[in-house]
């Protein structure tokens, strides 16, 4: 980096750099736990760790709104709904799936990794890299707020309609499922 900092700032920059590595480790370690855990709930916890790490990386990319969104929606809401899904699911004794062969696991993992590397690599190579503006645009959240409520205000109102549809839909589907289990004499 070609920034120049005062001495007391340099120490903070060092801490920020160390924390960057920490976030990467949290992301990767959480991901490995999420894939490898035997207990489903441990996998969810690993995923939460990974998502927290990604939220940290968003801060380093200078987009604090996305970081806040990541924590609020992914770590907060999506993970909660996953925990609830685990609670609602049948115990693993009932739902026994045939485990994949080791070679199949490695093979499919390698194929997916290669595909992802190919897609990302193409994008990286194709992108005309210019030196980023050294001053990170201050207040991206401000811009988002400004755009959301002036230029794209119609879209903004549509978002609330989409959320309305989502909430009514979830109630309707859950209620119907509930009635079915009642007819079968199941249900807790």
């Amino acid at each position: 980096m070609d920034f120049t900092f005062a001495t007391e700032q340099k120490f903070l920059v060092l801490i920020a750099d160390i924390a960057f590595v920490g976030f990467i480790v949290a992301t990767l370690f959480g991901g490995i736990v999420a894939v490898g855990a035997r207990q489903l709930i441990h996998a969810v916890l690993g995923l939460i760790m990974s998502l927290m790490g990604v939220a940290g990386l968003y801060v380093y990319l200078g987009n604090h709104f996305i970081a806040a969104m990541q924590i609020l929606i992914y770590v907060g809401a999506v993970s909660i709904s996953m925990v609830f899904a685990v609670m609602l699911a049948r115990p693993p004794e009932d739902a026994k799936a045939k485990p994949l062969m080791f070679a199949t696991k490695i093979g499919s993992g390698a194929v997916i990794a290669l595909f992802a590397a190919f897609v990302v690599g193409r994008a990286v190579i194709a992108h005309p890299w210019v030196k980023a503006a050294t001053v990170v645009k201050e207040g991206t959240i401000r811009q988002i707020g400004e755009n959301l409520l002036t230029t794209n205000v119609f879209v903004f109102e549509l978002i609330s309609l989409v959320l309305l549809v989502a909430i009514t839909g979830s109630v309707i589907i859950a209620k119907r499922g509930r009635d079915n289990t009642d007819q079968q004499g199941g249900g807790v």
Binding site: A19, F84, G145
Partner: protein, 118 residues
């Protein structure tokens, strides 16, 4: 720029250290005299009747869905709140419309008895 976030990081570390530290101190200093009764899993002082891993009632999931929807709502309040002054009255009314549409959803789940816990 990023070094301005170091205090936030320190706060996170303190929070994590406090949580882990309390557990560690209690395991180090606490007396350990285990008996069979103390080691047993219990549920309101009684033995656990069925297996803990069983499908739970779907109404828990409905509450979770309601939480999810209003959690997503909050994320849209955030940029508006930051830019509140310059957006002025127009933005305020826009946000009221936004909130009202979601309030319809809230009224719906209330009417459907999702929030009731018989």
């Amino acid at each position: 720029m990023l070094q301005n976030f170091v205090p936030v990081l320190i706060l996170f570390l303190f929070a994590a250290a406090f949580g882990l530290g309390v557990l560690l101190i209690s395991s180090l200093l606490g007396p350990k005299r285990p008996t069979a009764a103390k080691q047993a899993t219990y549920e309101c002082g009684m033995d656990v009747q069925p297996d803990a891993r069983r499908p739970l009632d779907v109404k828990y999931y409905l509450i979770a869905m309601a939480f999810l929807i209003f959690d997503v709502e909050v994320i849209f309040l955030y940029p508006w709140a930051v830019q509140f002054k310059s957006l002025g009255l127009f933005g305020f009314i826009e946000m009221l419309v936004f909130l009202f549409i979601l309030l319809v959803g809230y009224a719906y789940i209330w009417k459907k008895g999702v929030l009731e816990w018989e």
